[in-house]
């Protein structure tokens, strides 16, 4: 075989191969079986990370001088519903956090009651799935404290957060498992950077689950529900973005 021909043939082969690989990726992304295999990566990462970090490993905390000068907002910046407007106009005096589902004592908690619980303040880094990071200070009661007050039943496996912001006709929702729900840094923040949480950042209360990405940090939390399985929540993947866009439910990476 002449060297010139072989050179051309192999070069064309390599280029075509790489091109086919790239084009094939779109087709794989549409095939359900292939997608299921690809999505196994999430479980693998979750298992691996949970094993490496242990239950209570803390997300890094920062000094006040390391905070972002300005913390940008993201996602919904105002639920804008009549109900929410009425609550906000009154400084959320009539807002009640509903704790329900698989609990022995369903609760209806006011903002004043949340502030009266033992508090945790933490300066942590917020990592958006898009790639940016901002460091801010968050304060609020630990979620575990509230769950202990409500008394989780044995069959509860996940905590679902129902929010006031709507995306189309759907209210935002997110969920975490009990490992993250009882993590020491998982708090219901009502204060940010030593001020009341602003509407842009999720007033009156936003979840902080510090070992995961930004879309897990549900804003405008109205209700907390303990459930055995996520299959009856939304379309069954445990969160708004998980259901509509195939984002990973485990957002530790």
């Amino acid at each position: 075989m002449s060297r010139l021909i072989s050179r051309r043939a192999v070069t064309a082969g390599l280029v075509t191969g790489a091109g086919a690989l790239l084009t094939g990726c779109d087709a794989v992304g549409r095939n359900e079986t292939a997608k299921a295999l690809l999505f196994q990566g999430e479980d693998f990462h979750r298992t691996l990370q949970r094993r490496l970090q242990g239950r209570d490993a803390l997300a890094p905390e920062y000094r006040p001088d390391q905070m972002s000068p300005r913390f940008r907002t993201n996602g919904a910046t105002n639920p804008g519903t009549d109900e929410y407007r009425a609550l906000a106009a009154d400084g959320f005096r009539d807002w009640r956090l509903q704790v329900r589902g698989l609990v022995r004592r369903p609760l209806s908690v006011s903002l004043a009651q949340l502030r009266a619980l033992p508090q945790r303040a933490q300066i942590t880094r917020h990592d958006c799935v898009e790639g940016w990071s901002a460091i801010g200070k968050w304060q609020g009661p630990r979620l575990s404290h509230l769950l202990d007050l409500a008394g989780l039943r044995e069959d509860a496996n996940y905590i679902v957060f129902h929010c006031a912001d709507r995306h189309g006709s759907t209210a935002y929702y997110e969920s975490i498992d009990l490992i993250d729900a009882f993590h020491p840094q998982t708090i219901l923040a009502w204060a940010m950077n030593d001020r009341l949480l602003s509407i842009g950042h999720g007033a009156p209360v936003r979840l902080r689950v510090e070992r995961q990405l930004g879309y897990k940090q549900a804003k405008y939390v109205m209700g907390i529900e303990a459930v055995a399985s996520l299959s009856n929540i939304g379309r069954g993947k445990g969160g708004f973005w998980e259901d509509v866009a195939d984002y990973d439910w485990y957002a530790g990476i």
Binding site: L52, Y62, D127
Partner: protein, 255 residues
């Protein structure tokens, strides 16, 4: 193997010697890694598009000053004809992340397996070990001039890598790919809780993100140079050697 080799050299034309060049572990890793790396670069570009600004330090977002702002890579497809350069071809951060994080596992554990195998089969010690005389300026100059003349191997030892080859393979295997893996891990909030030292090494998550991008660019440069040299050195022979392990010493270079 040596018996097989001898038989082959005898049956082939004596001037066109065939040497056994790549061990099985090297060949398997090469192709698995080639697929993984193309998918990682393609999906990484879509992930970059979600926030195409790079910063130094712990934080970095829209109100902070980036040191580099990148073009949107998904817009490049139509520019280069029908070519698509990203995975997927359209903007989907969720799907790009699925590709990226799956093949990141192939990439990282693939390197680990290759490293263990290459210590056992002595590929590292025998083929990639750089000796001090290799790095003398005279040796480097000699190798540089050889490259300019398209002579890529030493006629006396055609089975050995040349100095630039060794330097680039060592740089990619022991520096760039490990840096890709560890800066990638530093981007994970879960891993930062597990291994907080990741952030200390790279000087914060946004610095790690910048280093991740720089190393990806260097690996892309390596791939371009690598493919160019494969084509110049005789692509049929080179590609076949990475499939069967056997490499034919080019004409005129034999004894």
């Amino acid at each position: 193997m040596s018996e097989e080799l001898q038989r082959e050299t005898i049956t082939q034309a004596p001037a066109r010697q065939v040497v056994f060049r790549h061990r099985l572990a090297t060949r398997i890793w090469h192709w698995v890694n080639a697929v993984a790396i193309i998918i990682l670069i393609g999906s990484g570009m879509v992930i970059s598009d979600a926030h195409p600004h790079l910063y130094w330090g712990n934080y970095g977002a829209n109100f902070d000053t980036p040191w580099l702002s990148l073009p949107r890579f998904v817009d490049f497809g139509p520019v280069i004809g029908d070519w698509q350069i990203t995975i997927p071809s359209y903007y989907s951060l969720a799907l790009a992340r699925r590709w990226h994080l799956f093949f990141a596992l192939v990439f990282a554990f693939g390197l680990l397996a290759f490293m263990i195998a290459s210590l056992f089969n002595r590929h590292f010690q025998r083929d990639l070990r750089l000796r001090l005389p290799d790095l003398h300026w005279r040796a480097l100059w000699h190798d540089f001039r050889a490259h300019l003349a398209f002579r890529f191997h030493d006629p006396a030892h055609p089975d050995r890598y040349n100095v630039f080859q060794k330097l680039s393979y060592v740089g990619v295997i022991f520096l760039l790919i490990p840096l890709m893996i560890f800066t990638g891990l530093a981007l994970s909030p879960g891993m930062d809780a597990a291994w907080p030292w990741l952030l200390d090494i790279f000087g914060g998550r946004q610095s790690a993100r910048s280093v991740h991008f720089i190393c990806a660019s260097l690996i892309t440069l390596f791939i371009i140079v690598h493919l160019t040299l494969v084509i110049l050195a005789g692509p049929f022979n080179e590609v076949r050697s990475m499939i069967t392990g056997r490499w034919r010493v080019p004409e005129g270079d034999g004894e």
